[in-house]
C-alpha cells in the first residue's frame, strides 16, 4: 500500500476544507428537515430494518408435521462448520422409521461466524439461518443455544415446518 503524503503549502490551509465539510453537513440537515420521510435514519428499537430473505441470522431447527425435530443427527453440519460451534449427541429413536435423532443439539453463538455452511450441508433441510440477529444475553452460557431455543423459541410459534417430508418421500418410492 502506498501512502501519498502531501507536503506543500496547500496542505497547510485546512480552513477551506472545514468550511466545505460543514457546508455538506448543513445541506443534509436542511434536506432532512424539509423532507423527513426520505431520511435514512430509523428509530431503533421502535422501528426495525427489514432484511432480505437471504439474510443469515440466528439458526432455526425445523420440525416435522408432528412437531418433532426434523434433524437426523447425521452431523454433516458439525463436520462442515468452520468455527466448530455445533455439538450434537445422537441417539436411537423408538420409531424404526426415524432410527436416529439428536438428544442434544447445541450451537455456541459466540463462536458462530454465520457463514451458512451448516444449512448448505444439511441433507434434510433441518437447519436454516433465520432473520433474527438482535439476541442479547447476560453471560456466555446464554449464547449456548439448545434444542428448546433453536427449534421452539416463542417467536417461531411451535416451529418452522421443514420442506422435506418422510411420508411423501416414501410414497414417491425413494
Amino acid at each position: 500500500m502506498s501512502v501519498v503524503q502531501k507536503t506543500g503549502p496547500s496542505s497547510k490551509w485546512y480552513l477551506p476544507g472545514i468550511v466545505v465539510g460543514l457546508g455538506i453537513t448543513i445541506r443534509h440537515l436542511f434536506q432532512n428537515l424539509m423532507n423527513p420521510k426520505k431520511m435514512p435514519t430509523i428509530n431503533y428499537p421502535e422501528e426495525k430494518y427489514e432484511y432480505g430473505p437471504r439474510f443469515k441470522g440466528n439458526h432455526v431447527l425445523t420440525v416435522k408435521k408432528d412437531g418433532s425435530l426434523r434433524c437426523t443427527a447425521c452431523m454433516l453440519c458439525a463436520t462442515n462448520c468452520p468455527a466448530q460451534c455445533i455439538t450434537i449427541v445422537a441417539s436411537e429413536h423408538n420409531d424404526p422409521t426415524v432410527e436416529k435423532f439428536p438428544i442434544n443439539y447445541e450451537i455456541d453463538m459466540l463462536r458462530c461466524v454465520f457463514c451458512g455452511f451448516c444449512e448448505e450441508a444439511c441433507p434434510v433441510d433441518a437447519i436454516r439461518m433465520g432473520p433474527e440477529w438482535q439476541t442479547p444475553g447476560l453471560n456466555g452460557s446464554q449464547f449456548n443455544y439448545d434444542i428448546e431455543r433453536l427449534a421452539y423459541r416463542s417467536n417461531l410459534k411451535g416451529g418452522v415446518l421443514s420442506i422435506v417430508d418422510d411420508d411423501e418421500r416414501h410414497k414417491s418410492g425413494i
Binding site: V3, K12, C74, M75, T79, E92, S172, G173, I174
Partner: protein, 531 residues
C-alpha cells in the same frame, strides 16, 4: 510360479493365486464387495471385473486363477463401464440412508460410487421396502434395505465360527439376510460380521450412533483380553476410545477377534479409571495428585518399604515387570513377589479359534521374570500371611482388565489386612474395598494403550506395542511410580531442550530462524501534529 502382467506391470505369483489376490498383494486397486481374503470365493457381487487379453468378455477377478503369460487390465473403458453398471444394479434398492448410516465414511458403496458411479439412477420403479432395524442378536442390528447380499457374513458364520446362524431367505429382489427361528446371532465372534460388511447393513449395537467414523483416529495396539494377544486397532478421539477392531496378523489372529476383546475399550475410558490418587491414614481419606501420592508414600513409609511384598498379575508388560522386579529385589531388598492368578484351573481352555481361558496377555512374561530373578513364592502363602497379619507393607499392581477378575473387590478387602497397602491401579477402586485396612494409598496408573511395551503370548511370541493416545494424562507409568516411591525424581524432558535453556520452552525454535536484529527497521512512520 506363473508370471502375469497386470496393468502393464509384470509380476510373479504363487500357483493357484486368483487375480484379485495378486492385485491386492501388489498394491493394485480393484473394486470388490463379496471377496474377502479370509473367506471362500462367492463371486456374487460381479464388481471385480477385469479384461484378460484374448478373452472377448470381462471376467471376475476373484474366481479366475492367474495362468502363465496372462495379460490383465482393469483400467480400460470396458471394465469401468462394466463396474459402473454393476454398481447401478447394487444401488437399485439401496436406500438414501447415508446421513443416519453408521457405515458412512468407511462404506464400500460410497467409495465405489465416487470412483466409478456419479450418475442419476436409470430406474423408474420404486425401491423395494424391506425390514429395517432388526435385532439379530445381543450385539448386532440388521438393516435389510442397505444389504447388497454379498454373503460375506453368511460365509463367516459358516466357515470361520461354524455356527451357521445366518442365511439368505426369499428370492430375487426380495432376498434378505436373516437368522433362523430361535437361533439368534449370539456367537462369540459376531461383531466380525459388522467389520466385514461392506455396507451398513450390519451395525454393532455398542458402537451404533456413538460417533461418526470420520471423527475417529486409529492406532495399533495389542488386545489385553486373553493370552492369544490379538493385534488390534483402537479408534479414539479426544472424548475417549469408542471401538476396537482387529488388525491382520497371520501368525496370531488372522483377520478376526472376539467380542469380549472389543468390550475392553471400556476399561481404558476415563469413566472407569482412577484419576485422582487417594491417601488413607486411619479413617480419613484425602485426594491427591498421583505424583504427590507416590512421593507421599516415600515420605511416610521410607523405612517400612524395605522388605515390602509385591503382587503382580499377567496384565503388566515385560518392561513394567522388569522394572518392578529389579526395584523390589534391588532397592527394597525383598524377594516377596507373588503372582496373582485368576481362575488358573481354566487357563488351558481354548475354543478352537481365538479365545483362551487365560485372561491375561502376559502370563508367560510373568513366569519368565520369576525364573530370571529366581523367585519361588506361592500366592496362597501370601493369603495365609495376610490372615495372620504378618504383612506390614503390601504393594499391589491391580489388573487393568477388571472384567477378567470378578473377585477383585473381595481380594482387595483381603489385601487390606496388611498394615500399609499401596494399590497401583488404573481402574477405579471403590472406597468400600479399601476402607478396612489401616493405611492405604491408591495411585492411578497408565493403561496399555497409554504406554509402550511388549507382551509374550501363549505361544511364546513376543509382540511389541506402541503408545496410542493419552486418556488420563496425570496417571503414572510403573517406572515413574516406583522411582518416586523409591525417593527418586521424575523429570519430563522437553523436546530439543538443552541444559542451559531448561526453563525456556523453546521447542518451537528453528535453527534457521531470523533473529530480531535482522528484521528491517520500520521506516514507515508519519509525522503527526505538524502543520
Amino acid at each position: 510360479m506363473p508370471k502375469c502382467t497386470i496393468n502393464g506391470k509384470e509380476i510373479e505369483v504363487k500357483e493357484g493365486t486368483s487375480i484379485i489376490q495378486a492385485m491386492t498383494e501388489n498394491g493394485q486397486r480393484i473394486a470388490h464387495y463379496c471377496w474377502h481374503p479370509g473367506l471362500s470365493v462367492a463371486g456374487v457381487c460381479r464388481l471385480c471385473m477385469v479384461e484378460i487379453e484374448g478373452n472377448p468378455r470381462v471376467q471376475i477377478a476373484c474366481n479366475t486363477m492367474v495362468t502363465e503369460g496372462m495379460k490383465i487390465n482393469n483400467t480400460s473403458e470396458k471394465v469401468k463401464e462394466a463396474v459402473k453398471w454393476g454398481l447401478d444394479f447394487h444401488l437399485i434398492n439401496h436406500p438414501l440412508d447415508c446421513p443416519i448410516c453408521d457405515q458412512a465414511g468407511e462404506c464400500g458403496l460410497q467409495d465405489q460410487y465416487m470412483e466409478y458411479g456419479i450418475y442419476d439412477s436409470e430406474m423408474a420403479e420404486r425401491k423395494v421396502k424391506k425390514h429395517k432395524v432388526v435385532s439379530l442378536g445381543d450385539r448386532i442390528v440388521l438393516d435389510s434395505e442397505r444389504c447388497i447380499l454379498c454373503s460375506r457374513c453368511v460365509r463367516f458364520t459358516d466357515e470361520v465360527t461354524g455356527t451357521k446362524e445366518l442365511g439368505i431367505f426369499n428370492r430375487g429382489d426380495r432376498s434378505e439376510i436373516g437368522t433362523f427361528e430361535d437361533r439368534p446371532l449370539n456367537n462369540k465372534y459376531s461383531i466380525n460380521t459388522v467389520d466385514i460388511c461392506p455396507v451398513g447393513a450390519l451395525t454393532s449395537k455398542d458402537f451404533r450412533f456413538k460417533q461418526r467414523v470420520w471423527y475417529l483416529k486409529d492406532g495399533d495396539t495389542i488386545c489385553t483380553g486373553c493370552s492369544t494377544g490379538c493385534n488390534t486397532k483402537v479408534y479414539f478421539n479426544r472424548e475417549g476410545i469408542f471401538r476396537i477392531k482387529p488388525r491382520f496378523n497371520k501368525e496370531v489372529n488372522g483377520y478376526w477377534m472376539c467380542d469380549e476383546g472389543r468390550d475392553l475399550y471400556k476399561v481404558f475410558n476415563r469413566e472407569n479409571r482412577q484419576i485422582k490418587a487417594l491417601k488413607k491414614l486411619g479413617h480419613s481419606f484425602e485426594e491427591m495428585l498421583p505424583g504427590a501420592a507416590a512421593k507421599d508414600i516415600f515420605k511416610n513409609l521410607s523405612t517400612s518399604l524395605q522388605g515390602a511384598s509385591l503382587v503382580v498379575t499377567g496384565q503388566l508388560s515385560n518392561e513394567d515387570l522388569q522394572k518392578a522386579f529389579s526395584f523390589f529385589t534391588g532397592a527394597l531388598n525383598s524377594k516377596q513377589i507373588y503372582h496373582w492368578k485368576n481362575n488358573p484351573e481354566s487357563w488351558s481352555d481354548f475354543d478352537g479359534l481365538l479365545l483362551r481361558g487365560d485372561k491375561n496377555p502376559n502370563t508367560k512374561g510373568v513366569e519368565k521374570c520369576f525364573e530370571e530373578f529366581q523367585i519361588q513364592t506361592r500366592f496362597e502363602d501370601l493369603e495365609a500371611a495376610l490372615e495372620q497379619s504378618q504383612i506390614s507393607t503390601l504393594v499391589v499392581m491391580v489388573p487393568e482388565n477388571i472384567f477378567a477378575y470378578p473377585d477383585l473387590s473381595a481380594k482387595l478387602k483381603h489385601f487390606g489386612k496388611a498394615k500399609n497397602l499401596i494399590l497401583l491401579s488404573s481402574s477405579l477402586v471403590s472406597l468400600e474395598d479399601v476402607r478396612g485396612g489401616a493405611h492405604c494409598w491408591v495411585v492411578p496408573m497408565k493403561t496399555t494403550i497409554e504406554k509402550s511395551g511388549s507382551f509374550i503370548n501363549h505361544n511364546g511370541l513376543t509382540q511389541f506395542f506402541k503408545k496410542v493416545t493419552t486418556l488420563v494424562s496425570e496417571a503414572l507409568t510403573v517406572d515413574q511410580a516406583l522411582t518416586l516411591m523409591g525417593g527418586g525424581e521424575v523429570t519430563v524432558e522437553m523436546p530439543h531442550s538443552s541444559s542451559e535453556t531448561r526453563f525456556l520452552v523453546d521447542y518451537n525454535h528453528r535453527s534457521d530462524q531470523v533473529k530480531a536484529e535482522a528484521y528491517k527497521k520500520n521506516e514507515f512512520s508519519f509525522k503527526r501534529g505538524t502543520l
